[in-house]
């Protein structure tokens, strides 16, 4: 059981929760994730650790409501408990001095970008960050990102805030005018793919953090397998951070779609059920 100490609505669909989980907080490192299960009937879902606090022994998670589980989670309030909160899982990123590190965060991926940017900054790197979202109402943590970056760029696909366009176009500009030693990209698979294709042209080492479907998160089921450099890897134990130039992103995108139909069925059933009980109806 892990208690929700704080809940913040970052955008209508993106929520932040601070969880009382000393057993995770004590060991958490940037790049790692947790697996949680809300209740007895719940599924196990992975969420990246967006922040952790050793003093308070808390872990911060940020999630976008995209299906039943994330919506049920989003409906929980401060003081409520999550049945299982497991972690920290996965490997941490290598925190060291590279020189100039560019951190690229897309959508809800801004959350996991933050601890990485902070860690690189603490190691003395010069950190340039580029964050982007589809629209201004999906952007969050601009101030947090600014605090841990030497320079910050913001984009929205529709131009409602910051520069209009994709994070990759800003990245290309940075790559053209500056020497970059490492690029770290976290976000939708398509964005990580485009980023990796771009940096490959410039031969800049690039790390991406993958988000396949998982069950146990401990290397026991192989559900999270991805192809990296032609080899089969388990994201939950070998990753989630991999060399972006080696990842088969198309395969990952296909694998993320395995349960689309079932996810929709579960969501529809839940919306019907909760509406009956008078719970708020989510427009998505």
């Amino acid at each position: 059981m892990a208690k929700i100490l704080k809940k913040e609505v970052l955008t209508p669909q993106i929520k932040l929760m601070v969880i009382d989980a000393p057993w995770v907080a004590r060991k958490a490192r940037p790049g790692q994730f947790v697996v949680l299960r809300i209740n007895e009937q719940g599924e196990r879902i992975p969420l990246t650790i967006a922040d952790f606090d050793l003093q308070e022994e808390t872990v911060t998670i940020i999630f976008q409501e995209v299906g039943k589980t994330t919506m049920v989670l989003g409906d929980l309030e401060e003081g409520d408990e999550i049945l299982d909160f497991i972690g920290p899982l996965g490997k941490e990123i290598e925190e060291k001095y590279f020189g100039h590190v560019v951190c690229v965060g897309g959508g809800v991926g801004i959350a996991p970008t933050y601890p990485k940017a902070r860690a690189f900054k603490e190691k003395g790197n010069r950190v340039t960050s580029i964050i982007g979202a589809r629209s201004s109402n999906l952007l969050f943590w601009e101030e947090e990102m600014r605090r841990v970056s030497d320079e910050l760029f913001v984009t929205t696909d529709d131009g409602t805030y910051g520069e209009k366009g994709f994070v990759t176009q800003v990245l290309e500009r940075v790559l053209n005018k500056d020497k970059v030693d490492l690029v770290v990209a976290v976000g939708p698979v398509i964005m990580m793919k485009m980023t990796s294709l771009l940096t490959e042209k410039y031969s800049i080492p690039t790390l991406v953090s993958l988000n396949p479907i998982m069950v146990d998160g401990t290397g026991m089921c192989g559900c999270c397998r991805v192809t990296v450099g032609g080899k089969c890897k388990f994201t939950c134990v070998d990753g989630p951070v991999f060399d972006g130039h080696q990842v088969d992103f198309d395969e990952l995108m296909a694998r993320q779609r395995i349960y689309l139909e079932e996810e929709k069925r579960a969501l529809d059933a839940w919306l019907m059920e909760t509406e009956k009980e008078g719970a708020p109806y989510h427009v998505y």
């Binding site: 057993w23 497991i86 559900c223 296909a254 395995i258 349960y259």
Partner: protein, 471 residues
């Protein structure tokens, strides 16, 4: 009245057409009358060989004698002297390769149905309700048991009965190991596992689920918390894949994923339970062990129209229990033998559509004593399917082992441990079950847990024990 000797009873079971529609248990158990009659068939050998076949050396003639006299309570107590999980073992032990294979009656006729009798007695006791025994005075020594499979549960239970303070740490959210995530409900009802776990907890064992040792805590963290001895029973949970092209296509699962979704996560109750499991019309299960049989029978129950088993040797070499192969076939599973996948074929959306296979023939025996399958050149053919379950075996999960660099492993990556005690290369650290032997059986894991509990007691009480650790 006939004077003919009664013959071994058949296990009553639900008809195949009915049972493939749900996940309820298939065998129904013997009645008291039949069980007692069967017990009377035992000739009470002077030098019983059946006991040699039992990895935990249950006094088999002893319990059977009590049963034949109608002393059910005495009979189950006799079993429990050696086996603390009889309701589970009575269901899943391969008795045909163990005790029953040594029964003298089996030389000329049919061996006594020892497994059925064990199950009958365990169920009798379960229905009555099991009382926790009185415990000795507590000892101020703390033991950490890592993993709650049969090895861990048994070790923890035995240590608690000696008065030690025991905590089990389990990575998953439910205790039981393979008993809950692997073996399906229709073969081992989860209520039975839960009852065994409750019993272990009633002995004072503390259970911490959702704690991944190596990640959440390291062994050193636990030492700092005051644990003075450790038992590692983390099983063989790493799924092997065929490593042929196309294996990451959608619709291809490891047996671990397939069974975990169905058993632990209850995907068969989707959408009442949130975890989905997609099963198509036509399923191929690769492999010939118990895990393959369980996967095939689960696929049928989840609505597959056709399920085939693809195995590279013949039925005779299948490692699965004969009983399980028979049940699978009764239910309509089709065995395609002497066949090995070469690659998986898929469509433009990334879903599997078929398996290209090659036919095999049996050559010379390999180190396991079974004849080695060799491919017949040019015999490739395609099996059209839309779902595949790969059930070709499991290995040791390196997650915890990587965090204990000083722990010695064997050639195959399992923990090197003394066969009698489970003692490892590290002082105070014991190991047993599948993480030492590789994927084996419930009863052998239990036996290892038992022996380590004894050894841990000696480690604490006898300062001359384990001299190699005490320099």
């Amino acid at each position: 009245m006939s004077t003919e000797r009664p013959s071994r009873p058949k296990m009553p079971q639900r008809p195949p057409e009915e049972r493939i529609k749900d996940f309820n248990e298939v065998p129904l158990g013997l009645s008291e009358e039949v069980a007692v009659a069967e017990a009377r068939r035992c000739i009470q050998c002077k030098k019983p060989t059946c006991i040699e076949g039992c990895p935990v050396e249950i006094d088999i003639p002893g319990f059977i004698k009590l049963l034949s006299q109608g002393e059910l309570d005495g009979a189950i107590a006799k079993i429990k002297e050696k086996n603390s999980l009889p309701a589970i073992c009575g269901r899943v032990c391969p008795q045909e390769d163990q005790c029953e294979s040594k029964c003298i009656l089996g030389r000329r006729g049919q061996p006594v149905a020892i497994g059925y009798l064990e199950r009958f007695l365990a169920d009798y006791e379960r229905e009555k309700g099991v009382k926790a025994p009185s415990l000795p005075p507590p000892r101020d020594k703390k033991v950490a048991v890592i993993g709650s499979g049969p090895a861990g549960l048994t070790c923890a239970g035995d240590l608690a009965r000696m008065g030690y303070k025991v905590t089990i740490f389990e990575a998953l959210h439910a205790p039981g190991g393979v008993l809950v995530y692997g073996i399906p409900e229709f073969r081992l009802p989860k209520a039975i596992v839960a009852q065994e776990v409750d019993y272990v907890q009633s002995l004072g064992v503390e259970l911490k689920v959702s704690r991944v040792i190596g990640k959440t805590f390291t062994l050193d963290d636990l030492k700092d918390e005051g644990y003075q001895a450790f038992f590692i029973g983390t099983g063989a949970g790493l799924p092997y894949f065929l490593e042929v092209p196309g294996e990451n296509l959608n619709g291809i699962y490891s047996a671990n994923e397939f069974l975990t979704r169905s058993n632990l996560m209850k995907a068969y109750l989707f959408p009442r339970y949130d975890t989905p499991l997609k099963v198509g019309q036509s399923v191929a299960v690769i492999g010939g062990g118990n895990v393959a049989m369980d996967s095939a029978r689960t696929a049928l129950r989840l609505g597959a129209k056709e399920v085939c088993l693809v195995y590279r040797r013949t039925k005779k070499e299948m490692p699965a229990r004969i009983e399980e192969v028979e049940r699978a076939e009764e239910e309509g599973v089709n065995c395609i033998i002497l066949t090995n996948p070469v690659r998986f074929l898929g469509n433009e959306n990334g879903w599997v559509t078929g398996i290209e296979c090659i036919q095999m023939e049996l050559g010379e025996p390999d180190e396991s004593g079974r004849r080695r399958p060799v491919p017949i050149p040019g015999s490739e053919f395609v099996i059209p399917i839309d779902t595949v379950v790969v059930a070709i075996g499991q290995g040791p999960n390196p997650l915890l082992l990587e965090t204990i660099p000083d722990l010695q492993l064997n050639r195959r990556g399992y923990i090197a441990a003394d066969a009698e005690t489970g003692a490892t290369s590290l002082a105070g650290v014991f190991a047993g079950g599948d993480i030492v032997t590789g994927a084996a059986t419930v009863i052998s894991a239990m036996g290892a847990g038992k022996r380590s509990a004894q050894a841990i007691d000696r480690f604490f009480t006898d300062s001359n024990s384990f001299p190699e650790w005490r320099q």
